[in-house]
Symmetry: C2
Subunit: 693 residues, 2 copies
């Protein structure tokens, strides 16, 4: 079976008309909870989410760090996607127990399995600190200085708020710098796995069906949050809907969309098109190739590689889609036309004309970004080797902690130390053979792409070849042992300086080049993009008031729309699928992988109602990071679980259209039915239905 | 539910690479039975259809006149599509019995219902008369004269062959004039309806799903051929396959593809793009609008309009698709590049250089065609009013029969008189209110589009408004009575001249303008296109031997390919669907029309095996007219019934690609199962399985 080539040219044309400079379209927007589009929702759907409604939903939604979820019972039960849980499933699996492949089913609290390093966050408070931050900035200072002032002000406000509230405070920059906020979270670190179906069921159709519809996946996983050793008891959860979603019903999605580029400048998009996306694709393709080779060497190697491969293939499909859109000249032309209109409007307005040069300044730093940004991107290795990431993390954290709070890197400010320690001391297994291979590959890439004089390459290779260099780091390290990491962290700068652990020695050596590159980037690129982005935002606010939503930033957002099918090719795609469709597709491909239905489902066929709604689509505005978000009906009930967007939704990175783009969800009725009829999870099903409405 | 807009831009790009001047691609071609691509089939599929295999298949396949079919039992049972049977189903229905909507089920021979005017043809012989025709043409004579000589030679050879064989002989012009053939048919006029499912089942998904895949239709109908009052007994039938098709198996489709444009000149395609297709669309849209209005006036009116509407909507979807392809500049550029290459090759070849001006001559008549061809197309009214068609048919036939055979219009030469009489004397009901409305509409169009001085408009309107003019024809006519038509035909020119029947008076009046326009078209356009087309064909033969197939001409052809799914958008379309899929799609649209499964099927759900294969696709090269064709496996078994092409197959009008374009078929297993489990047609099922292999 050969791989289909995504063709996005057909969807890009839709953007030609949708990019209007200021107006927001029906169902458009990933809105912050401080100002959802109340009037538009009322007008379109006759529904206004009350303050109480919003607070309840906000407290019921869970941030998975790159994914989303929601509380669905009074006893701390959290529902998210199987693919959001995948990272933990992998870390909990071993050669003996492959929970990723086989699923996991705890039928009592005692059987629920603690996650090694999953921290969940629930948003409690949002404070607009824009005025305070602005007040701390001297607008006459050079940009570098302004950026330092800005960061110090944020750090100070953050520390004070943390102290005052006891919450984990995170700064959030919205509208390309136009607003600065502090979001306060409750965090939970005792999270246990309750239930996950087989990967083949959760991800039926595999990479082939990914980002498509009709879809037939049961992409769910249940966790439970514990506090003081007992399930978290709370009224902040979404009541289960037994009746599920209906065609054309209002649907509200609440989650943590990661990143959209709807308000970036054309030159920023060109940078993305020419440098950032192609490089990301190349680096991912390299890793995919290496992992496939690694997987061939044995069953256990295949298991270790499988989770990474799946994540990479998922990302690649998306990245290639984004790049295809960016390379479509008609798309970028439409985007540029919108920017020209906005710039002309600003220039013609005597009160705003001073902002006209903001775009020029941002455009001006893109030439440097094409070398500096590229080099920074190449030097990342967090997803290449966790152990290398832990080593550099320990080195950086200890030296940062020696500084005053507001002078530290943002990620090592007081509010984040707890989380950093939790990650650095994670007991999750590390597959050293695999990481060594990938790190060697990256060392080689530094030399190949940046030259042997590149500081990272020089320091890492140290005259040896890439394989030997990487091997020498893994062969003598003690960092596999969590206690060794703990001793280094607790020992502080002195312990780090004294360490002979080869990983730490290497991490120390690349610390200076890392800091130099980061400082240059922050001083010369970030400062300009943020300060000038803020000025553009101010001009936009002045033109259209506050009926705008910010680009996605991984923070809590509300989207809304309707459950609806769409026209595709010359036919119609229905708004939902059923279990008939699941069996049809498995039979259609003669049960060949990735359409090989697991035995549990095949055995259950006669006892389930095949007409049960399985997956459905709606027009809610989402993006990567929304995975695991609840779909909520107007009564606040849990009717669906977001797990994907169709391929046409790729354009939502750059603008909104409801012509074909859709958010793809699992129906609440499907989850409940399979818990009872396929997985024999009666207690879990009872827990969901106990508070059902 | 709003209508989807077909977007074909995505498929057109595929043509850029597929149009090579001479080579034929894997699985390409609608081959005549005298030279199927034996080597290519052997190479690709390890199968060579023997002479016996071919003769058996040829004698088993049935021409439905615009559709196809095949014998499937030793007792004259013929299987075709429900939509091929539709015209007869409509004619057999009445306000009391709506067989189109409700289906028809004869469980004994006695219950089988005679069709009013269905003539089936089975090909028995094929003779190449190219040399004889060429010999009769004086190449130095002007084109008009050559064309007259050519036609007279064909008519003479045809008459002689008819006399000699007793078969119905039909001339066939292949390769744009490059070859002239006589095809000899056995004909059958006692054809009875045996079984047709409900339209909602045969055409599940309606116009929305038409030309798409995955598909879930049971588009079949059974007829039985009678001879001398008893079922035709013969060994020339295709044995039913109980095991059905398999993925990647060789599939052979035999049927009567209507028309392709793969070897026309660029200027001919431009004529099609600018004049012929847009006009066809406009005329059809007019009728659709009128029929919708008519259908609203009552239940019986709705029934009368429904069959016409369905045919028109089907055609419109296809015509619009073709036009979109033709208007895609990249497509026509590729087509033009191919023509340039061929012309350059011919010009550079000293033996062929003389043919170089053939294209110039064809190009030269297109300017005239843009007025004359358009006017001819506007003046057609066969599908507007059957009664008007009968009246003009009677007038023309009587006057043509007074001439020597070879001087008559082709359709009134001896070999065709039997068929003409059968059609003119058909007892099928005529819905006069409906026809009067449509004819009035056409009269008005003549005046609007060609001016009130247009001979057809002037003669028909005769000073009155279009409605009154049409009304006056229908109000006093006796032609509803078959005996009145018979009396006129038998009375000959004298009876026609004496008739005061208003329809006949009108038909007499437009006879002269009709003949004048037709003569001018044949002398000035057809003669050049055929004679020069023949010269291009000779050049092509000289360059590539005879490894070519001619454009489709509605005559028997063999296509071959494999049963295979394809990549679409970013996912895969499976090679087949099952009954699970049927129920999934009905549920997916909440059983709303056109996804409202008939009661019989819903009731049968528990007793049928939902995993039974329903519809499937293969790469066989087909086009409109192939509807009802059998899909035959290498053992000559009947494994499927062609009923559609997906939207990507629209490009097969202009060239072949197997990237996404597919032929869409009903699985033999599905038909057998529903006969037994849904429609209680046990005797029919037994008849199919009696000779199953």
């Amino acid at each position: 079976m050969h791989r289909p080539i995504p063709r996005l040219a057909t969807v890009a044309f839709a953007l030609l008309t949708l990019l209007t400079p200021l107006a927001v379209r029906a169902d458009e927007g990933m809105w912050t909870f401080d100002h959802p589009p109340l009037e538009a929702m009322q007008k379109a759907y006759g529904f206004t989410p009350s303050i109480e409604w919003r607070m309840h939903v906000m407290h019921s939604c869970v941030n998975f760090g790159g994914g989303s979820g929601a509380f669905v019972s009074a006893d701390g039960l959290v529902l998210t996607n199987h693919h959001v849980a995948l990272n933990q499933l992998q870390k909990m699996s071993s050669a003996e127990h492959d929970y990723q492949h086989d699923g996991f089913f705890a039928r009592t609290h005692a059987e629920e399995m603690p996650c090694p390093d999953l921290e969940l966050k629930v948003l409690q408070s949002m404070s607009d600190i824009t005025a305070d931050v602005q007040a701390a900035i001297d607008p006459k200072a050079p940009p570098v200085q302004q950026n330092v002032q800005r960061k110090a002000a944020i750090a100070k406000l953050q520390a004070a708020a943390s102290k005052r509230t006891g919450l984990k405070m995170e700064p959030v920059t919205l509208y390309q710098g136009g607003e600065e906020w502090l979001y306060g979270y409750r965090t939970y670190k005792d999270v246990r796995l309750v239930c996950a179906p087989e990967e083949r069921e959760a991800f039926f159709g595999g990479d082939l069906d990914n980002f498509s519809f009709p879809r037939h996946d049961l992409d769910f996983a249940f966790f439970r949050v514990y506090e003081n050793g007992a399930p978290l008891h709370s009224t902040d959860f979404l009541a289960w809907s037994l009746s599920g979603p209906k065609a054309n019903d209002l649907a509200i999605v609440v989650g943590h969309p990661g990143r959209t580029n709807r308000q970036r400048t054309v030159t920023q998009l060109e940078y993305e098109r020419d440098v950032q996306r192609p490089l990301a694709i190349r680096l991912q393709e390299q890793r995919v190739d290496a992992l496939h080779t690694f997987a061939k060497s044995g069953t256990e190697q295949a298991r270790q590689a499988s989770g990474l491969l799946r994540g990479l293939e998922n990302n690649l499909k998306r990245e290639r889609g984004f790049l295809e859109l960016l390379r479509d000249p008609s798309y970028l032309a439409a985007y540029a036309a919108r920017e020209r209109t906005l710039r002309a409007t600003v220039a013609a307005d005597t009160k705003l004309a001073a902002y006209s040069d903001a775009w020029t300044h941002i455009d001006g730093v893109q030439a440097l970004n094409r070398t500096l940004g590229r080099s920074r991107q190449l030097h990342e290795f967090g997803r290449v080797s966790r152990l290398a990431d832990i080593a550099t993390g320990i080195v950086r954290m200890t030296s940062e902690m020696a500084k005053p709070n507001e002078q530290r890197f943002r990620e090592y400010q007081d509010s984040n130390l707890n989380t950093q320690r939790f990650q650095l001391l994670s007991p999750a297994p590390i597959h050293t053979d695999l990481e060594e291979m990938l790190l060697a590959q990256r060392f080689q890439t530094w030399a190949d792409s940046l030259g042997t004089d590149d500081a990272f390459a020089k320091t890492s290779l140290n005259g040896a070849d890439a394989k030997s260099a990487a091997h020498s780091l893994f062969v003598g390290t003690t960092l596999m042992d969590v206690n060794a990491r703990k001793a280094l962290l607790d020992g502080g700068p002195a312990a780090i300086a004294a360490s002979k652990d080869p990983m730490i020695v290497w991490a120390r050596a690349i610390d200076a080049p890392y800091r130099a590159e980061r400082k240059r980037f922050e001083d010369e690129i970030e400062s300009v993009e943020t300060l000038e982005g803020a000025r553009i935002a101010r001009a936009r606010f002045a033109l259209s008031g506050h009926d705008l939503y910010p680009d996605a930033t991984g923070t809590l957002r509300l989207s809304y729309g309707r459950n609806a099918g769409y026209a595709q090719l010359n036919s119609m795609v229905p708004w939902h699928t059923t279990f008939y469709g699941l069996f049809n597709r498995a039979n259609g491909f003669d049960f060949q992988s990735p359409y090989d239905l697991p035995k549990r489902m095949r055995d259950a066929e006669k006892s389930i109602d095949l007409s049960t709604s399985l997956d459905f689509v709606n027009t809610c505005d989402i993006i990567g990071g929304n995975s695991g978000s609840p779909v909520i009906d107007r009564d606040g009930r849990y009717v669906g679980l977001v797990f994907d967007g169709n391929i046409q939704s790729f354009l939502w990175t750059f603008g909104y259209s409801d012509a074909q783009a859709r958010c793809v969800n699992v129906d609440s009725r499907a989850i409940l039915m399979v818990l009872r009829k396929v997985y024999d999870m009666q207690a879990l099903a009872d827990e969901l239905t106990a508070a059902a409405k």
